[in-house]
């Protein structure tokens, strides 16, 4: 701290000579701050320039706290300086509460702007207002909004009706269109998201069903394609991923099967069939130990998996046959 800082300030001799455990320089610092608390702005309290950023205010606060917090002098005789320190600490904390909060800081900066700064911001404000006014007028002239609003409303009603009747694909389509025209509408955004989700789930379920049919008919390739479609519609459809892995395994495509098994596990880490699929793939890859582990985990999660039970038994006793 430079000596110039205290220029023109007269320290009281009694205060400087009070019998306390503080160095003279520290006393001066405290007395000087205490005397100016009411007069200083928050910026001056923290010793930072006007309009300094929040981070700077915070850093300055930490430095000041280290000088002015009463705990720094715990166990020392402080006399009248204790009350002064407490006052200064509260004042710097007050300054921090304003200047380290972006919203409050900006407002305070405006309120405490130096005159030339004040003129400049006022002028800018006027300019901004003029431009905003112009813009509003221009938009009013063109005004495509009115016709647009009606269209949005119509699409939304249609979408809602479709949603109620479980025609999810239709609903998703209408609501998506409407949302594109009015992206600010929260209700619409929520509805569209719901419709999209339901639509993809419905699609996935449909493909999954087809896949199961194909599988029942012995058409492994067809089943794989259907499961793949189901997954595309809903990447979190664990059952499809697991079935796809099985189908791919049947076709001898181990790498493909592996990627589906991984996808199934990712979508449903606690799903028995996902672990079962992984077990199947691992067995194909020749890793009997890991395969056994995966199947055991699968059965732990879902004890009804008869296939897994069979397979596990075979794996366990495989060395016999």
């Amino acid at each position: 701290m430079s000596v110039d800082r205290y220029k023109g300030f007269v320290f009281s001799a009694t205060d400087l000579s009070e019998d306390v455990d503080l160095e003279v320089e520290r006393r001066k610092q405290i007395l000087f701050a205490d005397a100016h608390l009411a007069r200083w702005t928050h910026w001056e309290v923290l010793d930072i320039p006007w309009n300094a950023a929040c981070a700077a205010a915070r850093a300055a606060y930490l430095d000041h706290v280290k000088v002015f917090h009463p705990d720094r002098y715990a166990g020392k005789r402080l006399g009248s300086y204790r009350a002064r320190l407490e006052r200064v600490f509260r004042r710097i904390t007050e300054a921090r509460d304003v200047l380290a909060d972006e919203g409050k800081r900006a407002a305070y900066a405006r309120a405490t702007a130096p005159p030339e700064e004040f003129m400049r911001t006022e002028a800018r404000k006027l300019e901004d207002e003029r431009r905003a006014e112009e813009r509003r007028a221009r938009l009013a002239r063109q005004n495509p909004l009115l016709s647009r609003a009606a269209r949005v409303n119509e699409l939304m009603q249609r979408g809602k009706a479709a949603l109620a009747e479980h025609r999810f694909a239709q609903a998703a389509n209408d609501l998506q269109l409407a949302q594109g025209m009015d992206p600010q509408n929260r209700e619409l955004a929520a509805l569209a998201a719901e419709a999209r989700k339901k639509s993809s789930l419905a699609k996935a379920t449909e493909h999954f069903r087809k896949g199961l049919e194909a599988e029942a008919l012995g058409n492994a390739a067809g089943a794989l394609a259907a499961f793949r479609e189901a997954l595309e519609a809903d990447p979190t459809h664990t059952r499809s991923a697991a079935q796809a892995a099985k189908a791919a395994a049947q076709l001898g495509e181990v790498a493909v099967a592996r990627s589906f098994a991984d996808a199934a596990l990712k979508a449903g880490p606690r799903s028995g069939i996902a672990h079962e699929a992984l077990g199947l793939v691992l067995e194909l890859e020749g890793d009997r130990k890991e395969a056994k582990k995966a199947l055991e985990r699968a059965l732990e999660l879902d004890p009804t998996l008869e296939d897994a039970k069979e397979r596990l038994k075979k794996l366990r006793w495989g060395f016999l046959g």
Partner: protein, 622 residues
Amino acid sequence: MSDLDPVIGIDLGTTNSVVATVRDGVPRVIPNRSGQLLTPSIVAVAKNGKKLVGPLAKRQAITNAENTVFAAKRLIGRRWGSKEVEDARTVLPYRLVAGPEGNDVRVDLAGRVVSISEISALVLAELKADAEAWFGRPVKRAVVTVPAYFNDGQRQATRDAGKIAGLEVLRIINEPTSAALAYGFGKQMEKKVVVFDLGGGTFDVSILDIGKSVYDVVAVGGDTYLGGEDFDRRIMDWLTFGFAKENAGIDLRQDKMALQRLKDSAEKAKCELSGAPSASIHLPFLVAGADGKGALHLDKQLAREQLEELTKDLVERCIAVAEKTLKDAGVRPSQVGEVLLVGGMTRMPRVQKAVKEFFGREPCRGVHPEEVVALGAAIQAHALVEPSAKGEDVLLLDVTPQNLGLLVVGGYFQTVIPKNTTVPTNQTHLFTTVQDAQTSVRIAVLQGASERAIDNELLGEFILDGIRPARRGEVSIEVSFEISADGIVGVSARDVDTGQQQSITVTATSGLTEEELRRILDEQLDDLLERKATAGEFEEKRDRAQAIVQEMEALVPAVQEALERTRFGKDAVHKADGVLARVRAAIDARDVAALEREHEALDRTLQLFRGLAAQARLPQGK
């Protein structure tokens, strides 16, 4: 000076307490006299009228449930009739009664009514004695921790407990802040840290902005009635209902001893499930069967998934509190630089998973969750006693956990100091009279989050009189609020015109009055004297025993020589060894009765040794 006068940090927990200190610049936990780092926060009066604290009290809890007080922290500073106390009365095996003023909680312990502060004081005194045994000299000053969400009454009562225990409480600090302090000790860091502290009885979340060794608390939140004991209780309920179903409706809760055994095994099972997928609970001969059909046993398996299901809502409650606290602080989960897990309950995998999911980052578990709080308290105690000149010491800036304000017309609560204000702080507020010629005004000080005064905690009230009679609204009353670095509230009111002033330290409604405290302090002194008498007795016996042991050890070479040359059985040496070992153990355990018992055997052995040694010397002398 500081070398002669050690300071300690105490984590006064719901289930366990820990004492720590800083020695040679390193914070470390002080083991209790049984050699453990955790001391159970349990106080009991044994069947023979002896007062037991800590491990000894815990050991006899099952057979003496009615006179064993645990979880006193849940009651400290609480008001009689509050929901928390009513809940506690239904589940605690010991007897709660109202204080003399009818507004605080006392315990009926073997016929003597004791305040909760006294119970906690006994635990603190035990830890103090442990520390004194470890240092080998008296300990007078300590920093004690409390949950961040504790209100003024609870802090005040904790401070009183320290006083009763004969400790000068340097500072009451918040547990999460303390944990952060221990975490950051000796590291340079600039980041936002969230402390997630789920202990035995309370839950706290604190958000700190750490930089330049300043620990600046930005926001705190919590629930003073959510912790490990609630998890235990879920298991107990599950066991009792299951048992009632299987055994024709026998209600285990009617049997205090069975209840205590259930509690123990529930806690044990919970801990086991943090490391294993399932735990078995086996309690043979739990209760007598109906119509004298012999004893009934309890034998159950509890899977981790099942426990998670039983306690799902408790974990959800924790996360909801964390979410709200972050919002109060204006911090997004992604801005958090570290999440610290504190408290034994955070060992539960489901809790860790929930924290990880919410913050999107792996929480920090590098520290011992049960010990960090005490370590932080020790660091703060150290900094408050020996601030280093270079300024590299840590500095804590804590906040007030709840809004502080007044009751105003219409039953509303007017906040004067909002929560999350950095302490120490003060604030003044101007009020006016509401009636013509009003000469006195009642000022009720409250703490809480509700707009309606009645939903908040009443800290105290006082009356400012001697107001100049005037038309309503013409007289201004200035009320000043002050919150100390401990989080303790002081309020004063002043008539701006007349200068008439009143002030209170807000203690009246929860805990002990000033007089009572003084009386207890006197009594405690007597108590201390009494203890000193037995301590003196022990010292005397120990000195006597030690003198004998020393003499025997000096005789050993001669005795061995004699043995080599005589037919004296090696058996005798073994027996002598046994006696010595028992005496040493009795000295270590400060067990006066055992010393007394062994003394005779010791004397006999000494005579024997003397004889042998004399034999050994005789031929040489000739």
